[in-house]
């Protein structure tokens, strides 16, 4: 029991994932600043933001709307993110071998945060938040199928094993999945899915700052908003980590392997940041067409290639 609690709260769950995610969030903002020839925020900026929201600001509850749901939704999204962090990071950090079928559990757990953003937004009773929520739902409808197909393709490529640990071990010894044509196609599709799941530009239509003023999160303040921020930090860590596990042979904690592991993770986040900085926001229609037609066809081609062993 004590061990499980340690996994959940400290390592590799809540605390560890949150701290690494916060550092990655700084990396993302710093690269953005560099792309725009600015200096960028200091290293601990994400934690200043989080602590300020948590400790200093007051939490305002919506007058018209369900107060309880409004407050519980961020908590559940945090729990969903932490649970998926545990199941992704245990095999990835070589702490525990996971269990048969954990890939499927991870897939379901990863949808929980977005779903609870939607519920929280609808509970706030703000019209802009409900527009944001409806856009978020449309996003979920468009990218989840692609994401599921990617999982299926990776499982197929790994010889029908549904254990993350075994998928990573299949790639040991220099034959990472990204080294093949199908792997590259899947990685590109996965990158866009992660981008959409993180709500980064060009897929930030749900929290469009300019026309919806933060959309789904418009009513959140103080502690509740700090929990959402923390969830976002965790997601910024575990989703790229999952991609590294699926396509780049996971992490390796021996000798120079540590350096390589960190570089792999940073490379994925760097790609996400560069996509975010070089693209304008898409419309809902464009996002749906992009995933439902473009990305799905790409993943299906990859699956066919896998079938022929490419």
């Amino acid at each position: 029991m004590a061990e499980q609690l340690f996994y959940f709260f400290i390592y590799p769950g809540l605390l560890f994932a949150g701290i690494v995610g916060g550092l990655l969030s700084w990396f993302d903002r710093k690269i953005t600043a560099k792309v725009q020839f600015r200096k960028g925020p200091p290293l601990l900026q994400p934690f200043y933001d989080f602590l300020k929201l948590l400790l200093v600001k007051e939490t305002i509850l919506p007058e018209r709307g369900s107060k309880l749901t409004f407050l519980i939704a961020p908590l559940f999204s945090l729990i969903g993110a932490t649970l998926s962090a545990i199941f992704i990071l245990l095999p990835l950090l070589n702490i525990d071998i996971g269990f048969e079928g954990d890939v499927i559990v991870i897939f379901y757990l990863l949808t929980i945060p977005s779903l609870f953003y939607v519920i929280g937004a609808l509970a706030s009773g703000n019209p802009l938040a409900s527009v944001g929520a409806s856009r978020e739902i449309k996003m979920i409808i468009s990218y989840e199928l692609t994401f599921l197909l990617i999982f299926a393709a990776v499982i197929m490529k790994a010889g029908m094993t549904i254990n993350l640990q075994e998928i990573i071990q299949m790639q040991a010894g220099g034959n990472a999945f990204i080294g093949s044509i199908s792997g590259v196609l899947l990685f590109i599709a996965g990158l866009f899915c992660v981008q959409a799941k993180l709500g980064m530009v060009p897929f930030d239509i749900a929290e469009a700052e300019t026309e919806l003023s933060e959309g789904s999160f418009i009513e959140y303040s103080g502690t509740a908003y700090s929990i959402i921020k923390f969830t976002k930090y965790i997601m910024l860590f575990i989703l790229p980590a999952l991609l590294v596990g699926f396509f780049m042979a996971g992490f390796n904690w021996e000798g120079t392997g540590i350096l390589w592991s960190v570089l792999k993770l940073l490379a994925v986040v760097l790609l996400l940041t560069l996509i975010r900085n070089t693209n304008p926001r898409l419309k809902v229609k464009q996002v749906m067409r992009f995933f439902l037609v473009g990305m799905n066809i790409m993943v299906i081609i990859a699956i066919i290639l896998i079938y022929f062993g490419l």
Binding site: A33, R38, Q45, D49, K52, L55, T210
Partner: protein
């Protein structure tokens, strides 16, 4: 200095309320986000929702129509929130102070924590104003 005020100082999120301004001030505000002045290095961000705001930056004079809206935004912001009067119009009413729709200078409507005078203020003056505000926290 406690951790609370330290974190607050390091991460001020600004909500921009434009009253009846001539828009020159609004453009100067964008200036301090550009590479040359880059206020993000102090953790300052422009945000879209008053619920997340730490600083309410009010530019332009406040007329009869703006007054109720300003009060509403001020009440919506989660406390503690600092109000900064921006530009000659924000500080005193400027050239609009004699107009018949003018609803009084900003500091008679909401408590003001810092004034940044100028018509419009230069980016350097804005940074100086921010520094003064941070020192009062």
């Amino acid at each position: 200095m406690g951790i609370k005020s330290f974190c607050l100082k390091k991460s001020l999120w600004v909500f921009h309320f434009a009253g009846a301004s001539c828009n020159n001030c609004d453009i100067e505000i964008l200036d301090v986000l550009t590479p040359r002045y880059d206020v993000e290095r102090f953790g300052i961000q422009l945000i879209g929702s008053p619920r997340h705001a730490d600083v309410l930056l009010v530019s332009g004079s406040i007329n009869q129509r703006d007054k109720p809206r300003l009060l509403e935004v001020y009440n919506q912001a989660s406390k503690p929130v600092f109000v900064v009067a921006f530009g000659a119009c924000g500080c005193t009413g400027g050239i609009f102070a004699e107009g018949n729709t003018f609803a009084g200078p900003l500091d008679q409507i909401v408590p003001v924590d810092a004034y940044i005078p100028g018509c419009p203020p230069k980016p350097e003056a804005i940074l100086a104003g921010i520094t003064k505000l941070v020192k009062t926290i």
